[in-house]
Structures are given as C-alpha cells and as structure tokens.
Symmetry: C2
Subunit: 200 residues, 2 copies
C-alpha cells in the first residue's frame, strides 16, 4: 500500500510536529520547508518571498477584468504567483511519485487527490495555539496575547484564501479530510502514536 | 480516569456503530435509544413522539414575541419540548454520574461539558451515507437515491437546529469536538480499534 499523508493545519496547532512524528514512526519522507527550498532553487526567488506568496491569496496588480471586458491584461505579479504554484505542484508530485511521504500544507491534499492520500486536518482552540506559539518562542520582539491572536488569525486567513484560490475548495471543510484532530491539551507525540495506525 | 465519550454524528455516517463498538472495547455503558425509552417512562409520552422532538428544532405554536412585546404567551407545544429537553438533560447527567459511558447524540457533549468528555464527531460523504443507509435496509417502501439524500439532509438539518437551539453552538463546528472522523470507505470496526486509544 502506498502511504501518502497530507497535513493541513491551523497556525500554532502543532501540525508540523505531528507530521514529523508520523514520518519518524512510519519511516517515510517528510516535506515541509523542503518544498520552499526546492521552489527557490528552481525559480531563483528567495525562500522568504516564496513563503509569503504560498501562504496567502495571490495579489493582483490589476483587476482580472475591467467592466465586462475579458481582454487579457498582462499581470507580472499574478504571473509570478502562478509560476510558483506550478513549480510547487510539480515538486509535490515528484516527491509523492518518488516514495511514500508526508506533505505539510501547500494544497497537498488537493494536488495528490488521485493518489488517495490520508488527509489530516490539525486544529486547536485559540488559547492552545497561543500557548504553543509561545513555547516555540520565535517572536522577537515578544508579542502580546492580542497581537499573537491577530497574527494567528491572519496566517490562517491567508492559508484559507490561498487554498481556496487554487483548489476551489473550502479550507478546513471537514469533507476534504479523513480526520480532523483537535490538539488542545493533548500531547502531539501521543496523538501521532494513535493516528499512525490510520496509515498502517 | 473517568471515561465519558460523546458521539455526535451525521445521519448514515455510522456514528451509532462506532459508539457501540467503542463501548464493547472499553467495557463501558452505551446509551442511545435507552435515553428515549427513559424519557418516555418518565413523561408518559410515546418514544416515537420523543424521537421526533429530539431531532429537530422546537416548533412553536406562537411566535415568542409579537412586535416588540415580550409579554409571555403560554405555548403548550414549546413547553412540552422543553420538558422533554429537561428530562433528557437530567437522564444524561444521571447516566454519566453512575458510571463511565458513551452517549450518542442528544447534546451530550454540551450537557456533560464540565466532565471533560472525549467528544467525537462522525461524518461521511453523501454517497457513503446513502450506501450505509441502504445496507441497514430500513426503508419501506424503498427510497430512490434522490429521496434518501433528501431524507439524510433533512435529518442532519433537524439535528443541527436542535443542537443549536439548546446549546447556542454550531453543530459540526470542529472546535466543539476533540476529533472529527470521516467514515467514508473505512471499516467502523477498524476505526473503533484506533480511536479507542484516545480514551485509554
């Protein structure tokens, strides 16, 4: 049996840790930031720029149509967004073709839908997400709870818009996933040891 | 550790079977139709009537307020709805106080929220739900796929309205559950053997 797992996750919910732990338990590849690094190599765009682009809805320099006219207006910004998405699509396919793997985010569930992956959505209460972000301690200067909440909300909104733009599906809609797991108050290590059995 | 599990489920998703199997694996009580039977005993209303009432939003004989007046108008129908809900609430509390148990539907997750139950939401694709309803083979005369789909949609709409009326929460909103599981194409027996570990 091919074992492809895709993980969609709310910011701060521990989805990345869950993915890493599942990959260790299953001894299969794990791709997260590696996808960005690979796009960067192939497009000569910076990783930071790609990261920004792939977590929000494409911004267009001009509206797609003016009035009722559908005359195609060249839009360098949208073109670049789409180039990045195309590369990402190609890379994710290549990775999944090469071997069993876990893909975190980046519309993996949609891109690999014909391979029938195990699709996991990871979420948590806002308080739990704030606490997890604090544990990671990446904020410099430190953010207040209110600022952190705003950041989490903004990140998730960006992910939702990006996903919806490229897949036409609603991000977080349970029907797009095999299992949705609330990590609030739970050990990710323990969750991984249980959920791994869904892929065995 | 107290083990209380509440199961909310879409019609035809196999939530009831999952609950039964979990109760067998954990050797704990399982309450589903038993709740209706008990309400019936205590209120002298028929089980069939109670079943109808507890799966849809209360129907009011009169609007709650007329214009801007909040003068309380007696409404025998709403009174009876609320009597049933109060009995149900009491019975579910009694059951959970007595011993570890699994409660299927009936706002159990909300009623027992202070006991910190494991809250499972069970769902499936429409096709899978139609197939499961056919397997159960309860329809007499047999329904077409279209009719069955309408029935499933109506039942779920009723459950959602009932839940929202009494809890003020959105039925199926992932944040109200610890895990949401898609049973499409999966064996409920196998799922139960995995999910049971969340309660151990």
């Amino acid at each position: 049996m091919r074992r492809i797992i895709t993980i969609s996750r709310e910011f701060g919910s521990g989805g990345r840790e869950l993915g890493r732990r599942l990959s260790e338990l299953l001894h299969i590849a794990y791709y997260d930031k590696e996808i960005v690094t690979e796009i960067s190599k192939r497009t000569s765009l910076s990783e930071e720029y790609i990261r920004q682009i792939t977590e929000q809805k494409p911004v267009m320099a001009f509206p797609i149509s003016i009035g009722r006219s559908f005359y195609p207006i060249p839009d360098p910004l949208l073109d670049q967004n789409q180039t990045i998405y195309r590369e990402q699509h190609k890379i994710i396919r290549e990775m999944a073709d090469k071997s069993d793997c876990i893909i975190v985010g980046r519309c993996g569930d949609f891109i690999l839908r014909d391979l029938n992956p195990l699709r996991i959505f990871v979420y948590a209460d806002m308080d739990a997400k704030i606490a997890r972000c604090r544990e990671r301690g990446q904020e410099d200067p430190p953010l207040s709870d209110k600022e952190l909440k705003q950041k989490i909300t903004k990140m998730d909104k960006g992910r939702a818009s990006y996903y919806e733009f490229y897949t036409g599906r609603k991000w977080g809609d349970r029907l797009n996933y095999d299992i949705c797991v609330n990590t609030s108050g739970r050990s990710i290590k323990e969750l991984a040891s249980i959920l791994v059995r869904l892929a065995e």
